[in-house]
């Protein structure tokens, strides 16, 4: 009824703002705040999740699964007898509270009883992945892959050094030394270390032992260190790899070529002038 009043009179009367409007406003404010907070929060979570250059304890699930499953309790850190493992602190620029290690400081010493894995309450460190026939086997660990920088490794200069080779817990398996003639002197040999990806556990004892100022051999997460040839390359000389061809079918596509338009295109000299 009040709408029917003359305009002047309507203005004079101070009407209280309706409850509905107040409710809508407070609801909109809450939604707005939630959206803003949610955006900042998601941006941070997404950013922090993307850090891929860190090494996880033995038996860790794949990084994505690991981040989802690790509850950040630090029991693996407490179990580690060498203080290798650390929990990411604010300021470390790593997913907060998750365990990692820096092998140049303290590598994984590959305890045969792997104390860090069975204590994990969440299964983010998976016992099965570091066991052979239900017996813990640290040699199955896959924390990363050692990579050698040929430029700074002094063995590649011709200076004799086998520090990484000697430090490797899988001696002569994960790292081998290959001999090669040193053409520069004509009478010496290079003793070049070579890492074998199928055996390397990524423990980092080689990186720890490396004598150069900044390690010339270092461990990277496998995802970072390795390339991928793609499924369409098949090693024809490898019977196992060739089995992938079984049951494969080929598909030929034919596209009809219009002769007329090709000839027209050649005869059309209009563009030349």
């Amino acid at each position: 009824m009040s709408n029917r009043l003359p305009k002047k009179e309507r203005k004079m009367r101070k009407q209280p703002v309706s409850d509905r409007r107040a409710f809508l406003l407070s609801a909109a404010r809450a939604v707005g705040l939630a959206a803003m907070g949610g955006l900042v929060w998601s941006a941070y979570v997404d950013e922090v999740r993307a850090s891929e250059l860190l090494l996880r304890p033995p038996g860790a699930l794949k990084e994505e699964e690991f981040l989802r499953t690790c509850i950040k309790c630090g029991m693996c850190v407490e179990a580690c007898p060498y203080d290798t493992l650390m929990l990411a602190k604010p300021g470390d620029q790593k997913p907060l509270g998750t365990p990692y290690f820096i092998p140049r400081d303290i590598p994984c010493y590959m305890c045969t009883d792997i104390p860090c894995v069975p204590v994990c309450p969440s299964g983010a460190l998976d016992m099965e992945s570091v066991s052979t026939d239900d017996v813990l086997d640290i040699n199955r660990a896959d924390m990363g892959l050692a990579v050698i920088d040929h430029e700074s490794c002094i063995a590649f200069w011709g200076i004799q050094c086998d520090a990484c080779y000697r430090a490797c817990p899988l001696l002569d398996v994960a790292i081998t030394v290959e001999y090669e003639k040193n053409a520069r002197t004509g009478k010496h040999a290079f003793l070049k270390p070579v890492v074998h990806a199928d055996a390397c556990t990524g423990c980092g004892l080689c990186e720890h032992a490396c004598v150069t100022e900044k390690a010339a051999i270092f461990v990277l997460p496998r995802e970072v260190a390795m390339g991928r040839a793609g499924t369409h390359y098949i090693k024809g000389w490898d019977t196992k790899d060739e089995q992938r061809l079984e049951g494969a079918s080929s598909k030929t596509t034919t596209t009809e070529i219009s002769k007329k338009s090709a000839v027209d295109s050649l005869n059309d000299v209009g563009d030349l002038y």
Binding site: G38, I71, K72, G74, M86, K89, P95, P121
Partner: protein, 281 residues
């Protein structure tokens, strides 16, 4: 002495519990004792009994993690425990951030900030919104979202495993509670407290108000970090039933008239609505 005991007995016990638990966790980290290992996210008593933060587990569910039975049992133990002794007893008896926010609160009262900022401009329901938001972000990004930013875990983990920039989180919470919002972190924002509030709805251990003894001095409301739960003061003799009560016992201590006390909740509430009027002369 008697006065000190009467007025600070729960506060003293709470500090002993908070510090004691921190110490036990630290012995696990620094000396390898196994009595209590891990941290507030997940821990283990003697390597046998698992304990897990139900809110962290909930976020992991939202993130789509495959939960181990260990975590499920641990979370169930914690939920059942706090269902009995009061959900937010975690906040006032265990959580290390409580000491920071209590300090801010104390200074607030000492400097009369509460008399200047009489109205607090924020809702105490923010914490429940944050729970919802954290579950949404957890499921969108496949990680437990609040665990990446939780100042509570930052502080607790920091004390046990090394602080890093965690002190900044402590400082920010302190300043926020001191200058910006009374009971800001613990009473408005923290979703862990929100989660325990929901668990605590069903808890058995409660503060009871005896209206007949009350002289309306309101000391309890001044000191209470969740003063909205004390809506019955001077009105009716009932128990504090809100899950947001932290069972800190400060109201019981400061009351000079024996109008508040801890007791077991009467599960079949029937006779509480009748106040005992005869004591008033």
């Amino acid at each position: 002495m008697k006065h000190l005991y009467d007025k600070y007995r729960f506060l003293f016990l709470r500090r002993v519990t908070q510090m004691g638990l921190l110490m036990l966790y630290m012995t696990g980290s620094y000396w390898g004792w196994t009595f209590l290992t891990g941290n507030l996210s997940s821990s283990s008593i003697l390597g046998l009994i698992p304990l897990s933060d139900p809110y962290a587990v909930l976020q992991m569910v939202a993130a789509g993690a495959v939960l181990s039975t260990n975590l499920l049992i641990g979370a169930a133990i914690i939920v059942l425990f706090y269902m009995v002794i009061g959900g937010r007893a975690f906040c006032s008896w265990v959580c290390p951030v409580n000491m920071i926010t209590d300090a801010a609160n104390y200074l607030r009262r000492a400097f009369d900030f509460d008399k200047i900022q009489k109205k607090q401009p924020a809702s105490r329901h923010i914490r429940y919104w944050i729970i919802g938001l954290s579950l949404m972000i957890s499921s969108a990004f496949g990680v437990a979202a609040f665990e990446f930013i939780s100042p509570v875990s930052m502080v607790h983990r920091g004390i046990i495993f090394g602080l890093g920039f965690g002190w900044a989180a402590m400082l920010v919470i302190f300043l926020f509670d001191l200058f910006v919002l009374k009971n800001g972190w613990c009473g408005h924002i923290c979703p862990i407290g929100g989660c325990y509030s929901l668990i605590g709805r069903f808890s058995i251990f409660r503060v009871h108000h005896n209206e007949a003894h009350c002289t309306l001095c309101m000391k309890c409301k001044v000191v209470c970090p969740e003063s909205q739960v004390l809506h019955m003061i001077g009105k009716t003799s009932i128990a504090v039933l809100s899950g947001e009560c932290t069972n800190c016992g400060r109201c019981v201590e400061v009351c000079d008239d024996d109008a508040l006390e801890f007791s077991i909740r009467k599960l079949l509430e029937a006779s509480t609505s009748q106040p005992l009027k005869e004591n008033i002369s």
